[in-house]
Structures are given as structure tokens and as C-alpha cells.
């Protein structure tokens, strides 16, 4: 009897462990837009102008973006060529990639040519929603309405154009919101439309605020019938925050939060913390374009995600008594320096936005095929999407880490990058991880060969089972001149006299590889720049760093 009980207990424990680490692809299956068999032979391309002002070209851009979301509902048909200075710099290289690797032939229209685009794709719309040119938030509500009711978004000035194409006015928001607060406006939208919106996608149509809007991600939100707002996560706006809590609390766990917080209302730290509280996945770029198009296109049959691994699995390397440096560019694939001079010059690591494996496959294929032998990829940021681990309740971890493990495997990634600004940032507070959170990473990412932490510098360090967790010792600011940055590195080398010394450097967004190479070339100290997998492997065998986790006495700053 006792033996049976023991057997039962062991079986239950084993089942629980297996459950915790189950390869969870059902979440991705739920979230993933259906793929077409292959990319379309032909598609329409509309170039967009540089003007994104509310009183400028936003009306025609909003029309085209909403039309794009509808036209691309079941097939990728319409691609928008965003202007030269668009933050997501891959929008243009991706055109050539889609032509070359996927055989898409683009039929190019004129700049902002809504007339021809409507003529081609009017059949995908049931009418129009008219937004109020005097109330900015009415456009954000109109995006919600467009997705739910299959409507093109227009202003009053565009009514003749809509009529010409036989599109009736189905919803008219003019005058409806005069004098109302954003909390009241979005509450109205919630009451009218939320029940018919997706529980898997919510869009924060923030980022640029006031006189400008860059709703690049709206086409995908419309395609997915997402609810749109730019509600604030700032406690200074209690009515907006209450409604936002209600919305996030009603979404599936996990599900996707697209877009970015409003620069005018709250902070990145506040927004990301709140999203994490609900165990949701943030894909944080409000101007990420054309996902309604690219999300449906599969990888080419001859392609497989292959990383540049310098270290073979199970291989051990002995560190010499010297300074090792690894350079990592976070959030720089697409909005940083991939296309700028210098890439390939030195070993360099790039953090991959892992959800693009299913949400934006052509973009990831482009990066993987365009990499140089010196480019190495790692997963991030903190998991599948941008998230702060300290903000995520422990019971919401397994579902997220299952997705993270799955994506790391699909993308041939072995190292995971962690960042947590829920209690501080580069300026104040702390960016460290308590032991309980570190435990969870080690337990729930058993295949990861190592972890790195921070964004600015941080001081969490650990080593378990040959798998190091190292924090950034240096943050290369965009503003930092090379001579001062070189002096910074030399100072760190002075401050850390033992050898080997492992100096992990975070390279911020638009710093070019060329700048980093120049800075490293100026050092009076002898250093070796190595790929991150080599760096971590060496650090696994020579623990000159102290184990440190966040302490209860560490300063906390909740992102004012």
C-alpha cells in the first residue's frame, strides 16, 4: 500500500513537472494569423508621404491603412511603402526581399493614391466610419469601428471620395465626442464595440501624441478586429487607468497587446508593468507597418531559422586571464542599425523579437538570411514579447515561458535576454532580479545555455549548472562620444581588476556597429571581443563575478 502511494506521489510529481514545462504551441495556434500557401504573385504597393500630422496627411494615411487592414483580411494584397525616415527602417528593404525571395510582383501606385487603392479594394469594405477632425481620439475609436464593422476610416472631406466608390456612411463620429474626456470617449467605444472585438488582440494606439500620429500597426489591429485606445496607465489619470484595467482584465491570458504607450500620458515603465500584471504579451511598436500583409506569408520552403553558434552544445572553453567584451544590441532589429555601415566588422549580438516567428515571418527570414558570420541572435525581451518579469504574477509564468521556450527552439536561440524596469531604470531605482525570479528563469528555461540581464547596467549575477546569468556592466548611450565611452570601458576595467573580467555591453538602438568598433579600437587596455555564446561559455568556467540578486533594501522607483 505504502509502495503504491509512493508510486502515485512520484507519478503526480513527474506529471506536474512535465505540465510546467510542456511545449505549449496551442497559444501560438490561437494567436497566429492563418498563413496562405505561398506569398501572392502580385500585390499593390502604395507609397506614403512623410507628413503624419493630424492637420496634414493623416486623413489619407488613415484611409489607406484601414483599407489595407480590410483588403488583407484573407489574403495579402496591399502593402504600404512608408517614407524614408520611418522608424521601422526595414519597410523598404523588405519590399526587395519579398520580390526576390517570395516572388511578389508589386504594382506601384502614386504617393497616397487612395483613389486607385479604393477602386481596387472597395469590395472588401461595407462602408465608411467618419472620424471627427477636431477630436484626435475619434480616429482611434474609428480604427476599432473599422475592424468590427468592416469600414474604411475617413474624414468629412473624404465623403465625396467614399460616395464615388459607393461606400455608405455606416458610423459617423462627428460631434459625438465634443467636450468629452478620453476616458468618456473610450468608455463609449467600449460599451458599443468591445464585446465584438478580439480577446486576443488589443491595440495601444499611442506613441506619437498631439499634433502627430503614426498608426503603422493599425492595419494589423483592424485585420484582427482589435479594440483600440490610447488609455493611460498612469495613476495620475484614474478614470483612464480604471477602464484600461477593465479592458486588459478581459483579454485572454496570454494574448497580445500591440502598439506603444502614449508619449503624452504615461511612461514605458508604467505601461509595461501593467501589461505584465495581467500576464499579457506586448509587441511594442506603434508604427510597425504592414503586419496585416506579412503575418500571412509563410517562410519560403527552402528556409530554416539557423543561428550563428560559435559554441557547440556541451562544449567547454577555458578563459584566459584577460578582459572579454560582448556587445549586444537590444530592440535594434528594425529600428536601429541593421542596415547601417559596420555590421559584420566585429562579433555582435542582436536581440530577436521572437513573436515575429509567427506574426511577421518574412521580416525574421530577412534578418536571418541577411546576417553576417559575426551576427549572433538571442531571444528577448524577458520572454515572448517585451515584458518585465517582476511585474508578472508567478501563476502567469508557465503559459508565457512555454511560448518562450517554443519560440527559442523554432528560432535556434539558446540565450535569453531579460530586462525589468518595473522598479527603476538607468537613472534611479533598481533594474535587478530577486532570487525568486532568477529561480523561475533557470527552472522554466532549462534549454537556455545562459541569460543576460539589464538594459542599463545592472548587478544581478548568477551561475547554475554551467549556465551563467550576467548583467550588463555598460550601457552605450546614443549621446556618448567615443572617447568618453572608451574612457568608461577603461574605468570598468580598472574597477574590476581580476582576470578574466567579463564586460557585457548594451549598445543602444541607433549606435552603429562602426561606432562600437571605433570605441573598442581606442582602448589602451588589451581586450578580446567575442560572440555572446563564447562570452557566456567562458564565464561559466571562470566565475570571477559575485552571485548577486536584488536585495530588499535596494532602491525602488516606480516610474513616475
Amino acid at each position: 500500500m505504502k509502495l503504491r502511494l509512493l508510486f502515485l506521489l512520484v507519478a503526480v510529481a513527474a506529471a506536474s513537472a512535465a505540465q510546467a514545462l510542456v511545449q505549449e504551441d496551442s497559444v501560438i495556434a490561437r494567436l497566429e494569423p492563418k498563413k496562405v500557401a505561398h506569398a501572392p504573385a502580385a500585390a499593390t504597393l502604395v507609397p506614403l508621404s512623410e507628413n503624419w500630422r493630424m492637420d496634414g496627411d493623416i486623413p489619407v494615411h488613415a484611409l489607406l491603412i484601414s483599407l489595407q487592414g480590410l483588403a488583407n483580411r484573407d489574403q495579402p494584397r496591399l502593402y504600404l511603402e512608408y517614407p524614408t525616415h520611418w522608424q521601422w527602417e526595414i519597410v523598404r528593404p523588405l519590399i526587395g526581399f519579398l520580390e526576390k525571395r517570395h516572388g511578389v510582383k508589386f504594382n506601384r501606385l502614386g504617393v497616397n493614391d487612395a483613389e486607385t487603392a479604393l477602386a481596387l479594394y472597395v469590395k472588401h469594405a461595407k462602408g465608411v466610419v467618419v472620424w471627427d477632425g477636431s477630436v484626435r481620439s475619434s480616429l482611434i475609436v474609428a480604427f476599432t469601428v473599422a475592424g468590427v464593422e468592416d469600414l474604411v476610416v475617413i474624414t468629412a472631406d473624404q465623403l465625396p471620395l467614399a460616395a464615388k466608390h459607393g461606400l455608405p456612411v455606416v458610423v459617423d463620429l462627428r460631434g459625438k465626442f465634443a467636450g468629452k474626456t478620453d476616458a468618456q470617449i473610450y468608455q463609449w467605444a467600449y460599451d458599443q464595440y468591445f464585446e465584438r472585438c478580439s480577446r486576443d488582440y488589443y491595440v495601444v494606439m499611442g506613441g506619437h501624441a498631439g499634433a502627430e500620429m503614426q498608426p503603422g500597426v493599425a492595419d494589423f489591429g483592424i485585420r484582427q478586429r482589435a479594440f483600440f485606445t490610447d488609455l493611460s496607465s498612469n495613476p495620475k489619470h484614474p478614470e483612464e487607468l480604471a477602464l484600461l484595467n477593465k479592458i486588459l482584465g478581459r483579454q485572454n491570458v496570454p494574448s497580445i497587446v500591440l502598439g506603444w504607450h502614449s508619449y503624452a500620458k504615461d511612461t514605458e515603465g508604467q505601461h509595461t508593468t501593467l501589461v505584465g500584471n495581467y500576464g499579457l504579451i506586448m509587441e511594442g511598436l506603434h508604427n510597425l507597418p504592414n503586419v496585416s500583409f506579412t503575418s500571412q506569408i509563410p517562410l519560403t520552403p527552402d528556409f530554416k531559422f539557423t543561428n550563428n553558434h560559435t559554441v557547440k552544445l556541451g562544449e567547454s572553453r577555458a578563459a584566459e586571464k584577460k578582459v572579454y567584451i560582448a556587445a549586444v544590441a537590444t530592440d535594434a532589429m528594425g529600428i536601429g542599425t541593421w542596415t547601417k555601415p559596420g555590421r559584420g566588422k566585429i562579433p555582435y549580438t542582436w536581440q530577436v523579437l521572437m513573436n515575429w516567428a509567427w506574426m511577421n515571418p518574412p521580416a525574421l527570414q530577412y534578418f536571418y538570411e541577411d546576417k553576417s558570420p559575426n551576427d549572433h541572435f538571442i531571444g528577448g525581451l524577458s520572454g515572448p514579447g517585451y515584458m518585465y518579469p517582476k511585474a508578472i504574477p508567478a501563476d502567469k509564468w508557465p503559459a508565457l515561458t512555454a511560448v518562450g521556450r517554443d519560440l527559442m527552439k523554432r528560432l535556434d536561440l539558446r540565450i535569453l535576454e531579460i530586462m525589468d524596469y518595473s522598479e527603476g531604470n538607468r537613472h534611479v531605482g533598481n533594474t535587478d532580479l530577486p532570487k525568486a525570479v532568477v529561480d523561475r528563469y533557470y527552472d522554466q528555461y532549462p534549454d537556455a545555455t545562459g541569460f543576460i540581464n539589464g538594459y542599463g547596467s545592472a548587478r544581478t549575477f548568477d551561475l547554475r549548472g554551467g549556465r551563467p546569468l550576467l548583467s550588463y556592466d555598460y550601457y552605450l548611450s546614443i549621446e556618448r562620444p567615443v572617447e568618453e565611452a572608451a574612457a568608461d570601458l577603461e574605468e570598468l576595467i580598472q574597477l574590476n581588476p581580476q582576470r578574466p573580467y567579463f564586460l557585457l555591453m548594451h549598445v543602444r538602438e541607433s549606435n552603429t556597429v562602426e561606432k562600437v568598433a571605433d570605441m573598442l579600437g581606442r582602448l589602451s587596455e588589451s581586450v578580446e571581443v567575442v560572440p555572446l555564446d563564447v562570452f557566456l561559455q567562458l564565464a561559466a568556467g571562470a566565475k570571477t563575478y559575485r552571485t548577486y540578486h536584488q536585495q530588499p533594501t535596494d532602491a525602488v522607483d516606480h516610474n513616475p
Binding site: R426, H427, R459, L476, S477, A487, N496, A555
Partner: protein, 179 residues
């Protein structure tokens, strides 16, 4: 006017002068100073750096405020120049937040100071311990506050024992607050 009245007025004036302490000559460094970023070592992650220096006998107080948008950090340091050592608590080391170096040891700094060049220069020598990934490292910082001849500019030169390159900040005097 009688001679007696003139005598009384003169006595009264003398008495009132005697009753009021004549102000000591103000230190040319006293006041509020605002960084001139264009003439300074690059300051990131901070964008702003203001300090107020006050002198009260041998006691010099420097109240600093660093800012970057919504993020602010302020601290204050009072040094008694007559003492060989002033122990000052430190909550955060704001000098270079790009580095993986944090206040360590007993979270204090030991500061001694002196006036040089007839009060035109204040020199502080600070000893503190920074904590890094490899442990704790004592650091000395030599800080010279030098005011320009016309009193409108102040140059702060900091020599850290661990840094090969000096840090030089240039400040302009903030206008006195109106009364």
C-alpha cells in the same frame, strides 16, 4: 540745527553701525550653478545638473540635483573644512550611471576640503567604495571647483582614481532669485 543734535545723530549712527555685524566677504563660489552641456563632458544619462553652493564659516554645503525628464536625483553634502574627515551618507552614486558600479562599503563617503587661491578654488577629496561585479573597490575623487575672474562661470574638474580621463563640467551662474 544745534551742535547737540548733530552730536546725537552722529552717536546714533555709530551705535547702529556697531550693532550690525558687517557681512563677511561672500565666497565667489556661493550661489546656484547650472551646467553648460555644450562645454562639458557628456552628461548622459542625465540631461541636467544644477547645484547650489553655500558657505557658512568653515562649513560648505553643495546641494546637487540631476535630472532627465521625469527622473530626478538630488543629494547634499556638507563639509566642515576645519575637519580632516567628514563622513557623509550616500544613497546612490550618480556620477556615471552607465557603469556597473554602485555605492558600496558602508554606503558613506569621506570628504575633506580646502580653499585654494584666496578662496577662488574649492578642492574636495572624496573617498568612497564602489561595488562592482567583482567586489568592492576603493575610489578617490579629487574635485576642483574653480570660479572665473568675473564670477559668472564655474569649472568643476573631477579626477577619479579609476578613470584615466578627467571629467570636466562647466557651469554658469543662475540669476539670483528675486525677493
Amino acid at each position: 540745527m544745534s551742535r547737540l543734535l548733530l552730536l546725537l545723530l552722529a552717536l546714533g549712527t555709530a551705535a547702529s553701525l556697531a550693532a550690525t555685524d558687517l557681512p563677511a566677504p561672500a565666497s565667489p563660489l556661493a550661489g546656484t550653478w547650472h551646467i553648460d552641456a555644450a562645454r562639458s563632458t557628456e552628461l548622459s544619462p542625465w540631461r541636467d545638473y544644477v547645484f547650489t553652493l553655500t558657505v557658512d564659516g568653515d562649513r560648505v554645503t553643495i546641494a546637487r540635483r540631476f535630472g532627465s525628464g521625469r527622473r530626478q536625483f538630488a543629494d547634499a553634502l556638507t563639509v566642515d573644512l576645519s575637519r580632516p574627515d567628514n563622513v557623509v551618507p550616500v544613497s546612490l552614486w550618480p556620477d556615471n550611471r552607465h557603469l556597473g558600479a554602485y555605492i558600496g562599503g558602508d554606503r558613506t563617503k569621506r570628504v575633506r576640503g580646502e580653499w585654494l587661491d584666496a578662496g577662488r578654488v574649492l578642492r574636495l577629496s572624496t573617498d568612497l567604495v564602489l561595488s562592482t561585479q567583482q567586489g568592492e573597490r576603493p575610489v578617490n575623487i579629487l574635485s576642483d571647483y574653480k570660479v572665473s575672474a568675473n564670477g559668472t562661470r564655474l569649472t568643476l574638474t573631477e579626477l577619479r582614481s579609476t578613470r584615466n580621463r578627467p571629467v570636466v563640467y562647466s557651469f554658469t551662474r543662475a540669476p539670483a532669485a528675486s525677493k
